[in-house]
Symmetry: D3
Subunit: 240 residues, 6 copies
């Protein structure tokens, strides 16, 4: 079996992380995984949502959107339709949970970091690219907060990144692009930290079911890919 | 470690399936797992959504809701708030995918089955109970369609059921109730068919991450529980 | 003329009141009038709406909904459509006014009782059944407030109940079921207290108009029916 | 007891009907009852709503609104709030039912008359004034349809009008203005045709309940008032 | 070239300003320019919007609406559609900016004037008529505030009025009615104060573009028309 | 007077046009004017809106949005708020009108071009930059339609571009950035074609009014700037 992109089964797409992509946000990253491109901006707000007021902790949340023509055919603009789709809400909830798993909310103080993930070009894997890029933008925002004295201690506990794995033509593969994703038998998104600790697993059979041993194989691929992604995050963050 | 309910680690709550619960729907089931109670009704519509017209196949979809006081404190009514929450949409998308995995949509013909899952009392595990009950309601609707001649062949491929598993006080446990769910380190919802084929896995770390071996243990518990649930579905369906 | 249900002209359907139907609410009643089934839950909130703050009185309000397949053909879910219909709003305003007519709002203190009436099976008369059941749920909530010390005095002034009457094939009849309601010439909903004091009358001619003497006959039937309903409420409340 | 307006108990406010009030609508009436002023325009649409297509009958429907400063303090504009209140929907449903009771929908052919009732100044009784004015606007629209050949036969069966009655300081009174309405013990809106046939009765106890004999007295007042209103409609329609 | 209305090229339609048109508002004006009729009511609110709290200044804002049948064919009611059109929002923003240009917001104190402009009959130029009428209603509201002691100093700096100009059949013309507006090559709305100071210019080419010298000619016409309108405002305000 | 950017009074910011910026759209342009950056994508749809069906002509429309953190402080996401602001609607209507002024809609055939303008970084002048970039994206879409045979003739009549001018510290200046825009006395947006024909003028006094001679000076600056912008568009389109 040959993948449409001629990648090896355990080969992810090239990752490119551009920090300081736009000028206003405390953290701003353009993340590219192959042809998928997402702008991730992290904004600091020195308040917390009502349900956390006075509890001595902070909050991290995320919003997700796709530009109408980030995809092959134009999608209706959610702002014009007047509501976010179920898919959008599902994805932004996932990104938010993943980012919160990376930080000590108490060390954040009563501050909120909002990360906006806006897809400008889509070729599969937009939610996992968003998580990988959002983590870097969040780190930049945390560094900013430390510089300006918003926080004294270190809220960052570990980096997090995400990748999709799947069963494509009967084989477990790493990092599905759109050509694979749209015909894969199984699609699974995995979020892990830099120690291989699992934060989220969301696997869906499309057509055929999958077995526990296939799941094991996919998890092994995911771990390999995520550790590579986290190396790349670390490298991107090492410069300034 | 003792579970709040004094159940064994691999012991699910008692399941009760009441068919023909309300009189109008083609399939109507009250499913109870412990104190969690969900009314699942399956309605047959002899059309398909616009995106499927003329394609010679059917559709199965689901909607989910909670009565405002199904929970410990009253939640705002979604109809009054004017929109469904992200959680609601996420759950009803999950139920729909799970049910579609149980049927051959082509054998359904150009017909739609809509399954409504309305929680009247919640004690954890409402989404998995919904799937387990919805499958039975859907089977009753399919039987109805066969009786009235809407369909000639057999769309049902296998029964599906769902259960939650988690890490509670460091131990993998089966079928979390609200007391466990609200403090568990990890919560994972699993949907399988009667052959142990995996349809959906959604695992979320709450606080601590989980390891691949913990994931394996949870999957084994899920498989045990789901096969018990499917036995109970089969028994419920055997009477009339 | 024979009624479809073979009931006498002044004979209402059997009423069944099940208290403590669900476990979380301060008052929870399943009310059944014939095949019409409504879950009425009363929730206590120790605040009042903004327009009443600091005025030393409480509030009672109601919300109403129908499960999508409580009826012969499935109705769109109001939460999914994004708004409540005019009919729904009209009914919940009627239930709220009827319940407030049963209590001394000052004796409630600055507390609110919200009663949710959710129809799980409809066969005509859902709004009147809702009022009859909601009153019992509200009494249970008031008793709860007294037990926990939220209120010291007695807000309940009298029981209230409701019934529909109509002109069916030229004859005044009591308590229309769906078969009658859908073809009746006139449909009138009446809410009274246990002394026969009128709280609400809403009569609508469907097709032919009705005369003042027909209205008198319907009011007499309504009074007979409501006093029977209030007897049943009293009996249900006498146990515990 | 003296009424705030010094009117006799059975004396309605002066009614003024100005036809052809605006220039575009097929029927356009400014109706004034005392200080209450409502613009009623009837628009003809040569189609019917989807649920009536091909059934060989027409439809009459109504919409109601209040200008934000038609009242003593400014109300939020419903178009800006993004939804119509329950009260608005209740009123426009009432107006629509009342108008449909005046016509033979089959004789209308597959045409729709939409009557818009917009309150420009409110002093109590806006819904009943709307019905009284809307009926005249509808008649003008029907006459227009006959002139241009949209319909051949006569859909108008009788005129309809409406008035409020109530118990004010213990006495049944006719046609409550705002000063009375806001403190009345009971408020009842009655719609009748020119033969005294009852189309709608909606009575609500505010505070104290009312008895069947009080209801009789109010109905007698309503009949007197409505017959006077219909005389005025007839006179307004006699000129051109 | 002859204008459909036989007016001279620089001749505006007759203007009629009726103050105290409805009884509740602090300022209430019916403004008529030819067949265009708009009710403008100014309401005083002794608070300011959140973004101005504690800043020692007031606010003036406007809302705009059209009755559904103010136009040749009925438009859907914006309250029923659940949102205001882009055109409506654009117009109400324009009216608000124009009125704020007429007053010293600091002299208003922490008070808000809301002006509602509701078109009851439309024949072109509804937005400019709204501004002209709204200014008079606002002055009446300011006078009311001075009488009751809400403000001590004088917030009114100058009167403002507005008119449309355009290129119709190749000629610059003043004050387009609907017959001209719907076929004009260019349509330009101009708002000025009583000294000819420009507050807003909004010119749009419909079909052909326009030149800078045509723009000059239109501005000269606009200035002539607006100064005449302001004379009429002054006269209307001189009586009481 | 020195401008914050040290530009000459008649000096616009550097313009950069990057074509083929994203890969899916028929036209995709990143337009940068100084620090303002907008992604403009043109999508071809081989249908027309309902109001144009069967009329033998096409349509061009535009949508506009800002990424939440394109600005100095984060704005709420319009998709999450459930509606587009009045400002957004006003801008997208302006862009659409400007683009339609550039093409012969009949030559487009029954096709629609939708141009999405999404601001990723804002420093003043986002609506004028959007028009300038959108025109280039639209031309690329038209060239695509000609290549694939959607259209045979030439719909493009001339290029259009836009710039803002204003009165800043008493002086007319060209192309305001945010530092100027937020304190300018007057702000005017001008859209012209390559012959200096005016398509749109929108001038607003902020604080002080402006005179007709100031308006003339601003129009002269606008013409100079726009002709420079159109040269740059032409150059960008000359490559491929």
């Amino acid at each position: 079996m040959t993948r449409p992109s001629h990648r090896a089964l355990d080969e992810k797409r090239p990752l490119k992380i551009t920090r300081h992509f736009t000028c206003h946000a405390e953290g701003s990253v353009l993340v590219e995984t192959g042809d998928t491109q997402v702008i991730c901006t992290a904004s600091v707000d020195n308040t917390v949502p009502p349900f956390l007021r006075g509890k001595g902790q902070g909050w991290v949340t995320a919003e997700y959107g796709m530009l109408p023509r980030s995809t092959g055919s134009r999608m209706a603009r959610e702002a014009a339709r007047g509501k976010q789709s179920g898919r959008t809400q599902e994805i932004q909830r996932l990104i938010g949970r993943s980012l919160r798993a990376a930080v000590d909310l108490t060390a954040l103080g009563e501050n909120t970091i909002v990360v906006d993930c806006d897809v400008i070009q889509a070729d599969g894997g937009t939610r996992t690219a968003s998580i990988t890029g959002a983590c870097v933008a969040m780190v930049d925002a945390i560094r900013h907060m430390q510089r300006v004295g918003d926080i004294a201690s270190e809220p960052l506990q570990h980096l997090v990144a995400a990748v999709s794995v799947g069963i494509y033509q009967g084989q477990p593969v790493l990092d599905l692009d759109y050509a694979e994703d749209s015909t894969a038998e199984t699609d699974m998104n995995v979020v892990m930290d830099e120690n291989g600790g699992i934060i989220e697993v969301q696997g869906t059979a499309e057509g055929a079911t999958f077995s526990r041993s296939e799941m094991d194989s996919m998890m092994a691929l995911a771990e390999k890919g995520i550790l590579e992604l986290i190396d790349a995050q670390r490298e991107a963050l090492s410069g300034d």
